[in-house]
């Protein structure tokens, strides 16, 4: 037993500590008034954890190669931390006001646990750990989806999520078993050198990829996403659509590079088609949505397609562009969900029609929402413009101009539906009952400020991209 191995895992340990502190606090605080400190505590701990994540960076592997940490994984975890922090900030208000059946503490606890799972996914050097990480990240997330347990929609979302995630994990595991059968190892390093193109490895890879694609919600493995996003509580949706997706993308990127590098011929074409289909289908569905959460689900599907643009060449530039894209996407999407949460908390509505004339009643929220959708659409000077540019550049660098062209043309369609939101907020007249000015609690405000600052600064301040770019695989 060599416990020094654990020292490398300070991020995981830190998170685990938070996880445990929260459990203990939750158990002992119970229903006492001390519980009101739960949320500040959770936010504070995670914030400290997030900030600390930027300072301690150590390269190395532990547990005989099962655990890997380096600049890149730390960066990825930091990004996930930021996203989770924002979700924590946004979730509180909803958790407080929701009916009695909802316990506040568990949300944070479970979220922290899923985040822990994502850490493992990212740091995994072995498919077993990767698989456990994925399951840790997704099985409890089903509980988050079904969190509003007195609401049928939420229950349905939870059921769909757990069934589909189990199904996909079965498929993925099947793929892994074939990969294992063909190579005789589960370690990334070993498998990379042993893997060859045979029907079995190809089958294994495709099945494994399908499992990850499910998490990223790439078409045609995306179909759970809209339903679950719509039915889940809004903070869960935000979490699933941003953090969970980001983690899966990171893993896909890492495994493609570290394990399946030799099979580029297979995955390039496979993902090329999937990327195009994802972007197109996501866009087509998004056009007709009337529920804003469902709408953002489809929008995030098509965004996932854009993300794949950086992944599918497996280049260094693609890596930086993807990470950067995800960072910007995180800020933009979470900003949007922050607004959605606020509106939902006040009006209980999530249709796009509820946003009619929002600019007249709540100019600041409308402005944030506009910035968010513009950032998602890739309008300068917001971060989305830069991230789209870089991700297209990374594809163009490899000479894949046709894909870039298809993707850019699709941005026009996406612009159409994003503008629908803007139109609803700025042009349409507010409904009579929307007159009241909404007040958002300070946490949510902080999250919105954070997101807006992120959207504005991450693009214009080039340091962020330079920092990411300096980190290779």
């Amino acid at each position: 037993m060599d416990f020094s191995n654990f020292l490398m895992m300070h991020q995981e340990l830190g998170l685990l500590a938070i996880f445990l502190i929260l459990i203990v606090f939750d158990i002992f605080a119970g229903e006492t008034p001390v519980m009101k400190w739960f949320r500040p505590l959770a936010v504070f701990l995670l914030a400290v954890h997030t900030v600390a994540g930027f300072f301690v960076v150590e390269d190395g592997t532990a547990f005989g190669g099962m655990y890997v940490t380096n600049d890149l994984t730390v960066l990825m975890k930091n990004i996930l931390n930021i996203g989770t922090l924002v979700v924590f900030l946004q979730a509180g208000e909803w958790l407080r006001k929701e009916d009695k059946g909802i316990r506040e503490g568990e949300f944070y606890v479970i979220t922290a646990a899923t985040l822990f799972g994502m850490y493992l996914m990212i740091s995994a050097g072995n498919f077993m750990l990767l698989y456990i990480g994925i399951e840790t990240a997704s099985l409890p997330a089903a509980c988050l989806a079904a969190y509003k347990k007195h609401q049928e929609k939420s229950a349905e979302a939870g059921a769909k999520y757990i069934l589909m995630t189990a199904f996909s994990s079965g498929i993925m595991m099947f793929g892994l078993s074939y990969l294992y059968g063909a190579t005789g190892t589960m370690y990334f390093e070993d498998m990379q050198s042993l893997i060859t193109m045979t029907p079995m490895t190809v089958l294994g890879f495709v099945f494994f990829f399908a499992g990850l694609a499910f998490k990223i919600s790439l078409v045609p493995f995306h179909m759970w996403a809209p339903d679950v996003y719509e039915g889940s509580p809004t903070p869960t949706t935000a979490y699933l659509s941003v953090v969970s997706k980001a983690a899966a993308v990171f893993v896909l990127m890492l495994t493609l590079h570290h394990v399946f590098g030799g099979m580029e011929k297979v995955w390039y074409y496979l993902m090329w088609v999937i990327t195009v289909v994802t972007i197109v289908v996501g866009n087509l569905f998004a056009i007709r949505q009337n529920d804003i959460k469902r709408f953002f689900a489809y929008s995030s599907i098509s965004q996932a397609g854009y993300i794949m643009l950086g992944v599918l060449h497996g280049s260094e530039m693609g890596l930086s562009a993807t990470v950067y894209f995800i960072l910007v996407y995180l800020f933009s999407n979470l900003a949007a969900f922050g607004v959605i949460t606020s509106v939902e908390n006040r009006t209980g509505r999530t249709e796009i029609a509820a946003y009619n004339g929002l600019y007249k009643t709540n100019p600041k929220l409308a402005l944030v929402m506009m910035l968010a959708v513009f950032s998602l659409a890739g309008i300068p000077p917001l971060g989305g413009f830069f991230s789209k540019f870089f991700i297209f550049a990374s594809a163009a660098e490899q000479g894949d101009y046709i894909l870039v062209f298809i993707a850019t043309v699709n941005t026009v369609i996406s612009l159409y539906y994003y503008l629908r939101i803007v139109k609803a907020m700025f042009i349409n007249e507010p409904a009579a009952d929307m007159g009241e000015v909404m007040r958002t609690d300070v946490y949510n405000k902080a999250s919105l400020v954070l997101c807006v600052a992120g959207m504005l600064l991450v693009g214009v301040v080039s340091g962020v991209y330079d920092y990411i770019d300096a980190i290779g695989f």
């Binding site: 037993m1 060599d2 532990a62 005989g64 750990l129 456990i132 840790t136 099985l139 370690y187 089958l203």
Partner: protein, 173 residues
């Protein structure tokens, strides 16, 4: 002789597994389906035994047959007050499901048969050896390569969280 006995046992169990699993997914009565699942699981444990994975077989029996299946049966009893009959099946879906079934089996079997496995020697050497429990224990809490302390711990977090989550969702309040 052991060879042949093994083969007979295997093919019998294989047949049982196939038939039971088919029945498990087609039986109209939920309890029957659960029972067929049980049979499948037990036969799987038998396969593990054939493979000399005794520990695995025990775990299979205790966790699956002992734990999960009980859970299933409780759930079935809990949710089917009106009787456990499910309604008739959707033919269209059955056809497409069957298509997936056939195509899937075809593709996977083709892929496996096509693959040149490098086996032969290993089997005879390790053929009948049972794996030492101590070895398993060491591997489970070791930190080196081919040792799984980290996975084990991670799994514990998973199980804990799932427990919290399941309780959260399932409890009445």
């Amino acid at each position: 002789m052991g060879e042949i006995a093994n083969m007979i046992v295997f093919y019998c169990m294989a047949a049982v597994i196939v038939i039971s699993s088919i029945l498990a997914v087609t039986s109209r009565r939920m309890l029957r389906a659960a029972t067929f699942l049980l049979i499948v699981l037990i036969c799987t444990a038998g396969l593990y035994l054939l493979l000399n994975y005794h520990f695995l077989a025990v775990v299979q029996l205790s966790v699956y047959a002992g734990g999960i299946l009980i859970l299933f049966i409780f759930a079935i009893l809990l949710t089917s007050a009106k009787g456990d009959r499910t309604e008739s099946q959707d033919t269209k879906r059955m056809v497409s499901g069957g298509l997936a079934l056939v195509a899937g089996i075809g593709i996977t079997v083709w892929a496996t048969l096509k693959h040149k496995f490098l086996y032969g020697d290993n089997l005879t050497i390790l053929g009948d050896q049972e794996i030492n429990m101590k070895e398993i224990g060491n591997a489970m809490i070791g930190t080196g390569k081919y040792e799984y302390l980290l996975s084990f711990e991670a799994l514990s977090v998973l199980l804990l969280t799932c427990a919290i989550g399941a309780i959260l969702i399932a409890r009445k309040r």
